[in-house]
Amino acid sequence: MLYVELTLQGLVQGAIYALIALGLTLVYGLLRILHVAHAALFTLGGYIGVLTTNATGSLAGGLVASMVLAGFVGMAVYRFAYEPILDRPPFVALIASIALFVAAQEVFRIVFGPYGISYVSVPLAGYVSLPGGLALKQGEIAVIVLALGLLGLLAWLSAATRTGIAWRATVTDPQIAESFGIDIRRVRYLNFFIGSALAAAAGVLVAMLNNLVEPTMGAVASYKALAIIVLGGLGSIRGTLIASLALGVTEAFGTIYIGHLLDRDAIAFAFLILILMVRPHGLLGRA
């Protein structure tokens, strides 16, 4: 039963990773930028979610407000931070992004205080019992359901709508897409909006599971999401999803069985390095 429980815990963690990492992989697929500041939007999402939920009493309202607002902030980040330096070597954008991320953490600390904020009444705190004597928090089930729903919606958008087709065309070959009359800037804005909104949703969920949002909440997300998109094969959406879940489950088992040798992060990166040595372009990457 321990195995099943660990797997479930791993999948919940993996679903959160997936929501965060997906936006990062979308940005990478389009712009070849390692967008570290993405983790700041995850934290921002958590803050907006908690504040709105506390003000209105509705978790759904908090979720929507946080996704929409973070989406617009994400678009602003693209416009003011990345667009002017797109033609520079990639490490320029990487350092700029890291600086932006640290600056954002500091702003959160100064504005909202160093100790973080919590929900007035914790939403979905009860337990649901599953067959076999297992129990999951309602919040954890909400994480899985919401992740599946959002990712399903995204898959439908990209497969069946004109915007989605334009988006996929731009990822595959920006120049050809442009010559077919696709407005690349619009696609990029949309990309940042969707990616940031997903990260914000993850922020609201993590805030709910821990009942805490703090300025440094994005620290783990910042580097682990990078590991995940690299593991999945930079820019591959399916790879990112698989990598997220695989990493979640690996960490869940790893901390139990080899936790005395390596801490959680080290396990994640040992797994990453191992995979990269066998498959240098990630799980589903192309050479």
Binding site: A81, F91, I95, V107, V230, L261, A266
Partner: protein
């Protein structure tokens, strides 16, 4: 010189050496590393372990360099397998592995770190001169390499690896050499750091430190030896100078870094080259 000034110059010199060691790998040979603090840490831990058990400080330096270089050699080998952004994340992973291992080993002090590292025996001023001398020596060595045939091969590798390979350069060998030399120098810098602060803990060699040193290289102007030297010296002192505005220290620091990347992505070297070029055009 006052005690404060001696401490400041010493830590500047150590940071310059550390930044130049990354510049050797990233600037000269174009191999990005997001985990350079791990090698700094390996050097620091190696020498700290040795001197706390009675080995003279000067003998611990080559050992620190050797241990860091061995790790650097292994990571250099991975650079034959993964490239660019994949390499950046792999090196980042190596740094997390290093911290993860150190934290869980009681022999290495675990989460408490190693305290009570003995003095160097050189005296405070002597140690400052020693550190400055080493930083200067490595700067000159970098200039020499940059002008040599190896520097040319590094440049070609950084510029376009496939083309470099096509004209018959053994790209893999040069990459590994760059990693070994760069990480050995980082190991020495780490050993100096350990005996400057007289304490080592895993948290001093984390992701933030790796990013900070990369930021120094990029702000200086990637590959520019004098640029990186100036950037490292100034940026290591900035937190002290910002002490007056303590609450906003990190915000100011990161804001400056962001502005630098946004408005002058070629770093200090780019700004100076721009000024120089304009003046020449005017004349």
């Amino acid at each position: 010189m006052s005690g404060y000034e001696i401490t400041l110059v010493t830590s500047m010199a150590i940071t310059v050496l550390f930044a130049l060691s990354l510049n050797f790998i990233t600037g000269l040979c174009g191999q990005i590393s997001l985990g350079h603090a791990a090698f700094y840490g390996i050097g620091a831990y190696t020498s700290a372990m040795l001197t706390t058990s009675g080995v003279p400080f000067l003998l611990s330096l080559p050992a620190a360099a050797l241990m860091a270089a061995i790790a650097g050699f292994v990571v250099g080998l991975t650079s034959l397998r993964v490239r660019d952004d994949f390499l950046a994340i792999t090196t980042m992973g190596v740094a997390f592995l290093f911290i993860g291992v150190v934290r869980q080993q009681d022999a290495l002090g675990g989460t408490l770190g190693i305290a009570g590292i003995p003095a160097t025996g050189l005296g405070r001023t002597g140690f400052m001169v020693f550190c400055t001398g080493l930083a200067l020596a490595f700067a000159l060595f970098s200039v020499h390499v940059k002008r040599s045939w190896m520097g040319f091969a590094f440049d070609a590798t950084a510029d376009d690896e496939d083309t470099a390979r096509m004209i018959g350069l053994d790209v893999g060998r040069y990459k590994v050499v760059a990693f070994v030399i760069g990480t050995a120098a980082a190991g020495v810098a780490g050993a100096l750091y350990a005996h400057h602060v007289r304490f080592v803990g895993a948290d001093s060699f984390g992701f933030v430190e790796s990013v900070t040193v990369l930021a120094m290289v990029v702000v200086g102007g990637i590959g520019s030896i004098w640029g990186v030297t100036v950037a490292a010296a100034v940026m290591s002192a900035l937190p002290l100078w910002f002490q007056a505005v303590d609450t906003y220290k990190l915000l100011l620091y990161s804001g400056l870094l962001f502005a630098m990347m946004r408005y002058s992505p070629d770093g200090l070297a780019g700004i100076v080259a721009g000024l120089y070029g304009r003046r020449r055009k005017g004349a």
